[in-house]
């Protein structure tokens, strides 16, 4: 156990003071590390005989999902249950938002019902910020439009750190629909802060050169990027966000940017293959690769639970004014 000491020194000076998690852009590298270290402790809880801890006993969490989601909502729900919080799920179809109630009024009603944490997924960028500045409950962004998806960014980072032992100095290729991807943005902000090198790859319509201003490289030639990548993170083509065609057709997309078996020979043998899901098998990635030895796609899901437990514990565990 002696090996734990130096690790214990790392962030023992730092303490968590945020009630909300709105995005990774505003977090410091130290805060991101803090969440990842806290997630280590919560991952351990999953190996105990009793996989539930009383950390948020008596707190109420509302999953307010104005946009459909299964995996993120389920992950937050399981995380909250393992922390002993009470949880209510509200989806767009069952909420009064369809009756014309504003987001602010919905939130105030939830707060009047003594909600302590609101996990919000919304199609509009900035909706979580709007909410957090108006109510006392903790607000956790579970994806807002094409803006940020901070817990996905954190679980991707956690998975890279777990498998590679570090994040700094690694070359991460994020491939596909960057323009419409909140996952890409959260990943970019966090990876750069942690000292990784990031290359975005995709058609120029979905990966415009403007992204270079963030401090990342942009490439439209996947085959040139794959040989130096330590991690490839494949993003889903978000058909639902594209009002017009951003590339000629799926066949051409697969030919140029799909991670096919033929193309995978270019990868380093220890390159990780990641995907936030849901996967379009045969589009972003060949089925065999998604299930192959380099794939950590299911580790991402498992780690998502630990990361979300950490985020809920930290944001809801501090005193609110």
């Amino acid at each position: 156990m002696g090996s734990g000491f130096s690790k214990q020194m790392n962030s023992s000076i730092l303490r968590w003071t945020r009630k909300d998690l709105l995005g990774l852009r505003e977090l410091s590298a130290e805060e991101i590390n803090f969440v990842l270290e806290t997630a280590d402790a919560f991952k351990q809880v999953g190996t105990r005989e009793v996989k539930k801890v009383p950390a948020l006993l008596g707190k109420t969490l509302i999953n307010l999902f104005i946009e459909p989601s299964t995996r993120t909502r389920t992950s937050f729900e399981l995380a909250a249950k393992r922390l002993s919080a009470d949880i209510v799920n509200i989806s767009a179809a069952t909420s009064s938002l369809t009756k014309g109630e504003t987001l602010k009024d919905t939130a105030r009603v939830l707060e009047a019902n003594h909600a302590d944490i609101i996990v919000l997924r919304h199609s509009s960028a900035g909706a979580p910020q709007f909410l957090a500045s108006r109510i006392g409950a903790s607000v956790i962004n579970a994806g807002d439009g094409a803006h940020e998806h901070p817990t996905q960014g954190l679980l991707d980072l956690y998975t890279i750190r777990e498998k590679k032992g570090r994040v700094a100095g690694l070359h991460i290729a994020i491939i596909g629909d960057i323009l419409f991807s909140r996952v890409a943005r959260s990943n970019i902000f966090a990876l750069l802060k942690m000292g990784a090198r990031v290359t975005l790859v995709g058609p120029s319509t979905l990966v415009p050169r403007e992204f270079e201003q963030l401090g990342v490289a942009v490439s439209h030639q996947l085959d040139e990027v794959l040989p130096t990548a330590d991690v490839v993170n494949l993003l889903r083509i978000q058909h639902e966000r594209q009002r017009k065609e951003y590339f000629p057709g799926l066949g051409e997309y697969i030919r140029l940017f799909g991670l096919t078996k033929a193309r995978a020979v270019l990868l380093k043998p220890d390159c990780l293959i990641m995907h936030p899901g849901p996967i379009n098998r045969g589009v972003e990635i060949d089925s065999e690769l998604a299930d192959g030895v380099q794939s950590v796609i299911l580790d991402q899901v498992t780690n998502g639970l630990a990361v979300r437990m950490a985020v809920l514990y930290l944001c809801a565990g501090i005193a609110t004014p």
Binding site: F5, E37, A41
Partner: protein, 162 residues
Amino acid sequence: MAHEIVERNRDLSALVLAGIPARGVALAERLAADIEAIAQARVATGVIDVSMHRDDVGMRVSLPVVRASQLPKPLEERTVVIVDDVLFTGRTCRAAMDAIRSFGRPACLQLAALVDRGHRDLPIRADFVGKNLPTARAEQVRVRLAEIDQEPDGVWLFKANE
């Protein structure tokens, strides 16, 4: 303290010294080394972080990082000695007992504290105490250990507002 632990626990192979981070973990390691010198037997050590089991969630303005707990499996048939630097209200020990329960059902729990400063809020007492230190409730007791604090070992008593 190591002598007392050996005297109380004839079967050292069933013993686990579970330290509460950060200084309890270091003390558990020191006790394990002392026991090894006395009894020529290496006892198991573990880490028990109590953050998730505290009863003041939502009452503090900031949170320290939570450490991963680690205890040998299975805990059944074993004696777990909870090791902490300072025993004060007893609330940390109560949380540690709850945390250990989530790992299994040990045969016996014992408590070792380097300093017992009194002022219990709960019906808890230590089995092994390094030093009883009479204090006023508002005073602060700080233990410093070389391997954690990068300064010489020491126990410091601070007056209130200092």
